[in-house]
């Protein structure tokens, strides 16, 4: 994964040896380290449609190519499905979370994606899903697509824009809230085979996907291309995390045990520390439920010695103790 936040080759040297206490859950070694994460700005929107099919079409399209802020400017994903009783207009809906490094980028990406992926999608409407610390434009500028035929309606201090389109009206709220959030929470899973690490990650992703206020922005929630900072090629700022590549086992930099055949990462963005704590705990629990018997060797986190961000998620604290 081309992410600078998962990059440091030398991170193991930053962890004092005395901290390497044993913690095993169902035979899976939990490394005594922390996953490092950084502040982001996040917003939530609610997309509704005539049915889930069309609401999901819009949500999936607008969260496409939104895996990493490095290449995509924004990280986005579907948070969950919403029942008719949970949406402003009483139709089936999808909650979408978007994360960016700053408010301006978040707003620009949101508008571009709403304009190209939701406005265009038959029967959909879009609403604010967050009160937040401040407001960013949702339909505020999109309304000009109405070419003067747009009208607004203010209900309960919320302004909605009604833009005439070929299937009737596209209804969108003028603004949505945004708040400080956290990006880059992560877990790294080591297993004896590719199929076993996939199985473990899928179990963790399923468990975490049940939770509100988080998304797993990478394809299917998993990441195979962890990266390190820098490259032998001067034009590249990041390159494959070769210490974790199983086909390079035995080389001096490689840190994998000989019985580890594959490593997979799960990246988590969340609205608060508590949300990430809970998600990581559920993820680790799901992986450890499979246990060493299913080939899971170890779980660790992306630790960069505090250089990446102020949020440190200590795996053993998350799991509630030094040893189990």
């Amino acid at each position: 994964m081309m992410k600078w936040r998962n990059a440091s080759v030398a991170r193991w040297s930053n962890i004092p040896a005395q901290n390497h206490k044993l913690m095993n859950i169902n035979g899976v070694f939990i490394e005594d380290t922390f996953a490092e994460a950084f502040p982001m700005r996040a917003t939530r929107i609610i997309i509704t449609g005539i049915n889930y099919k069309w609401a999901r079409h819009a949500a999936e399209t607008m969260t496409g190519f939104a895996t990493s802020v490095i290449g995509c400017k924004v990280e986005a994903g579907i948070e969950r499905e919403l029942g008719n009783h949970e949406t402003p207009d009483g139709r089936p809906g999808i909650a979408v979370l978007l994360f960016a490094t700053d408010r301006k980028t978040l707003e620009a990406q949101l508008q571009a994606r709403i304009g190209q992926c939701v406005l265009t999608c038959p029967t959909t409407a879009v609403f604010a899903g967050l009160e937040g610390e401040g407001q960013i434009a949702l339909g505020k500028n999109l309304r000009y697509f109405g070419d003067g035929y747009q009208t607004s309606k203010q209900v309960d201090d919320h302004r909605y824009w009604r833009i005439p389109v070929m299937d009737g009206e596209f209804l969108c709220e003028e603004t949505t809230g945004y708040q400080t959030a956290i990006g880059g929470g992560n877990l790294l899973v080591f297993a004896r085979s590719l199929s076993q690490v996939l199985l473990a990650c899928e179990a963790a992703i399923d468990a975490m996907s049940m939770l509100p206020n988080i998304i797993l922005p990478f394809p299917g929630g998993g990441v195979r291309s962890g990266s390190k900072v820098g490259s032998k090629y001067k034009t590249l700022s990041a390159s494959t995390n070769h210490p974790y590549c199983p086909t390079l086992k035995g080389l001096p930099d490689n840190v994998l045990d000989k019985n580890v055949e594959a490593v997979m990462e799960i990246v988590i963005d969340g609205l608060s520390v508590e949300d990430l704590n809970l998600a990581m705990r559920r993820g680790i629990e799901a992986i450890c439920d499979l246990g060493k018997a299913q080939g899971i060797e170890k779980i660790t986190g992306g630790n960069y010695g505090g250089k990446l961000g102020p949020h440190h998620f200590y795996l053993r604290e998350i799991m509630g103790g030094d040893q189990i």
Partner: protein
């Protein structure tokens, strides 16, 4: 804190200007000071204490106007957001004019210009209201600018004249020229609507259960539609206890008329169907 009571003692055939209450609230006058101030009745100056008796302090959040009459004009004018005024009886003209966030409940009827130029807050009239409800006083370019005005009975002609924003709900019937020169906002009714609805309408929504007796000639039939904003609006409409609660909260199917084209307007008259 218990409600402060203001009792109207009578003023013969003279109309009473209730601006004094707004001034007393702004200046936080004591009942004694109010009683000693003067009030103009016709061509005479009288002591306010001769016309009203006040029990309690005006700093109370809830005020009650007892024995009210349709001779009392400007009741609740500019009522601020921290005040509730309960009016027992009828009111004269200009009830709740320029309401500034307060809550005004009149358990009788009101004459003309109720809620005109109101800004925010809510007015509830338990019986009927006269002409120019939610409208504008002569000379102003904009009428009601926000808040909710609910009339449980009927309203007269020119309901919502020059209305700019807010929600005007009439549980009964509405007279002629409803939404005349309307700029924006929403007017809805559960009864019938008279002639020439939407004349000169620029924007805004008129939402009725049946077609008005006649609409301005500049309206075009846009056909039948399911409009997504209506369930949102229904939350507002169904919020207070009224006949409107009989409407289904998810109702959204309407016949739409767009106008008034004579002023290049994009107002709409929506008629519930289905």
């Amino acid at each position: 804190m218990s409600a402060t009571t203001i009792e109207y003692k009578g003023s013969g055939d003279h109309r009473v200007d209730m601006h004094w209450l707004q001034q007393a609230l702004e200046q936080d006058l004591s009942p004694k000071e109010i009683s000693k101030s003067t009030l103009k009745l016709g061509s005479e100056q009288v002591l306010l204490g001769d016309v009203f008796s006040i029990d309690g302090k005006l700093s109370a959040s809830e005020l009650s106007l007892k024995n009210s009459s349709n001779r009392l004009d400007y009741v609740g004018i500019g009522l601020p957001s921290d005040k509730t005024l309960l009016v027992e009886g009828d009111c004269g003209h200009y009830l709740g004019q320029q309401l500034a966030g307060g809550r005004l409940i009149c358990n009788g009827s009101a004459l003309h210009y109720a809620g005109c130029n109101m800004q925010t807050g809510s007015i509830e009239i338990m019986s009927n209201a006269g002409d120019y409800v939610g409208g504008s006083i002569a000379g102003n370019k904009r009428g009601m600018a926000g808040g909710r005005l609910l009339i449980h009975g009927n309203s007269g002609d020119f309901t919502g004249d020059l209305m700019r924003r807010g929600l005007l709900m009439v549980a009964g019937n509405i007279g002629d020229h409803c939404g005349n020169r309307m700029i924006a906002g929403t007017i809805t009714s559960m009864g019938s609507v008279g002639k020439n609805a939407g004349n000169g309408m620029r924007r805004g929504t008129l939402l009725f259960p049946s077609k008005p007796a006649s609409m301005a000639t500049g309206f075009n039939d846009c056909g039948r539609h399911s409009l997504g904003f209506l369930p949102l609006l229904m939350r507002d409409i169904r919020a207070p206890e009224s006949a409107f609660q009989a409407l289904h909260p998810m109702r959204r199917r309407v016949q739409r008329y767009l106008g008034d084209a004579s002023v290049d307007g994009q107002g709409e008259v929506l008629i519930w169907i289905g």
